[in-house]
Symmetry: C2
DNA sequence: TAGATTGTTAATCGATTAACAATC
DNA sequence: TAGATTGTTAATCGATTAACAATC
């Protein structure tokens, strides 16, 4: 999944969408496909570091990340030159650089809109240690949920968004509402001042230029699986 | 998000991954990128049909799906020729064909491994009406959860997998466990006879040829968002 | 030096899209 | 016929990967 300005989509992407050109002209342009692999490399490098590894070859990293070694070298070359020929990449340096690029050493305040199962799952998921994000508020349209807590985060009224966003300096809005209200939620997040939106509602959203948008569609992945199942397996009971 | 054999998705692509060539040589080969867009088109066509639309142009469908019209026509051409020049596509026929390809009129039995927040969210999400899937069992390693229910689905002991899978003719395993145990869960799902795996654990899994694997990495999408945030916004409080 | 491994080039592959003839 | 819209071609664009010179 990935998309672009107000329209496209993942395509991702299984892939997600991006609104407006997010890449500063001051930085080298890193291809979207490479950016999407950085978190996977990062995870592998962190694990190797904890295991005491000092240097890692592109071959080994490729194995851990499940990709081609040439792709690893190409991807890492976008980050600059941290490899040593004949030796490999310095694990500490690699981890530091990738963590920096991914904003792992920052702490973006997020709001989750929709205190349902998925919202709760994400709130718990993200409250785990250092990922570069912290969920500072959850909002919901259901008054019976207001004042309750998910983990340590309070559930607020959705009308509180215009106050919450500036007050907590919230940068990212995460939409886990039903699809019918997702566009209006996105509009309100944008007016409230959020700069990026991660949308879990299965609907195509439109946001103004300058607002980053990525989409995750849980049902889509299953439907793609189902497509291939239908081509390789016997039919199950018909519905 | 999306990928290929033995690796992961997002890993592999931010797109999800597929293990082994899943496309029967008897059917026309539909590109992965096209398959990933079919659910989006399908959703739009279903909505238009409910609104009473009889025919739809590639232009309109493109607008609804957030993609280029030429891409829509190209994608639909893989399904066969259902369009009428000068008129558009017959909505009923389009919906039927896409629904068929996506297995929407079938009912694949699924098992969710991991009765945590995410597992519960998915169980509820998928128990919604006709999506071509039904969650027939949830398993968890925690004995205190055994016998409880999420929605109407019972939580079983994870050791029950070898019995549950054949008994319910389960085709798809959904992994929502912590990453540390995900590979062993995948191995056990495969031995139990599952043909496809949808993995939500942030780890690269390996499965035998012939087993379909797709990965969804919730944190990855946020990390990609964070990457672009870091390039366009001011830094938040450092962590 | 000999062996290992990077960084980069260039070939290849696949996906996107503009354009337009076909045709309803 | 005139207008609309598909289906398909071909150009373009971008991503992947094999190969290998550079070099530790």
């Amino acid at each position: 999944m990935t998309e672009r300005a107000g329209r496209s989509r993942t395509e991702e992407d299984a892939t997600p969408a991006i609104a407006a050109d997010p890449v500063s002209s001051l930085n080298p342009v890193i291809p979207e496909a490479t950016v999407a692999r950085l978190p996977v490399y990062f995870r592998a490098v962190v694990a190797e570091r904890q295991a005491g590894t000092i240097t890692i070859s592109s071959d080994r990293l490729a194995e851990l990340a499940g990709v081609n070694a040439a792709k690893v070298r190409k991807d890492l070359s976008f980050l600059g030159t941290y490899g040593i020929r004949g030796v490999g990449y310095d694990v500490d340096r690699l981890m530091a650089e990738m963590g920096h690029q991914l904003g792992m050493y920052q702490n973006w305040p997020c709001v989750i809109v929709g205190a349902g199962n998925l919202g709760a799952a994400l709130a718990n998921y993200l409250s785990g240690d250092e990922r570069g994000f912290s969920v500072v508020a959850i909002v919901d349209a259901d008054p019976t949920k207001w004042g309750s807590h998910i983990g340590s985060v309070e559930v607020h009224a959705d009308d509180d968004l215009p106050r919450l966003v500036p007050s907590y300096d919230i940068a990212i809005g995460i939409i886990t509402t039903p699809p019918a209200v997702a566009q209006s939620v996105a509009d309100r997040l944008v007016s409230a001042g959020v700069g990026s939106i991660l949308n879990f509602a299965p609907v195509v959203l439109t946001v103004p230029d300058g607002v980053l948008l990525r989409n995750v569609d849980l049902a889509l992945e299953l439907q793609v699986l189902s497509f291939y199942q239908g081509r390789t397996r016997e039919d199950p009971e018909s519905a």
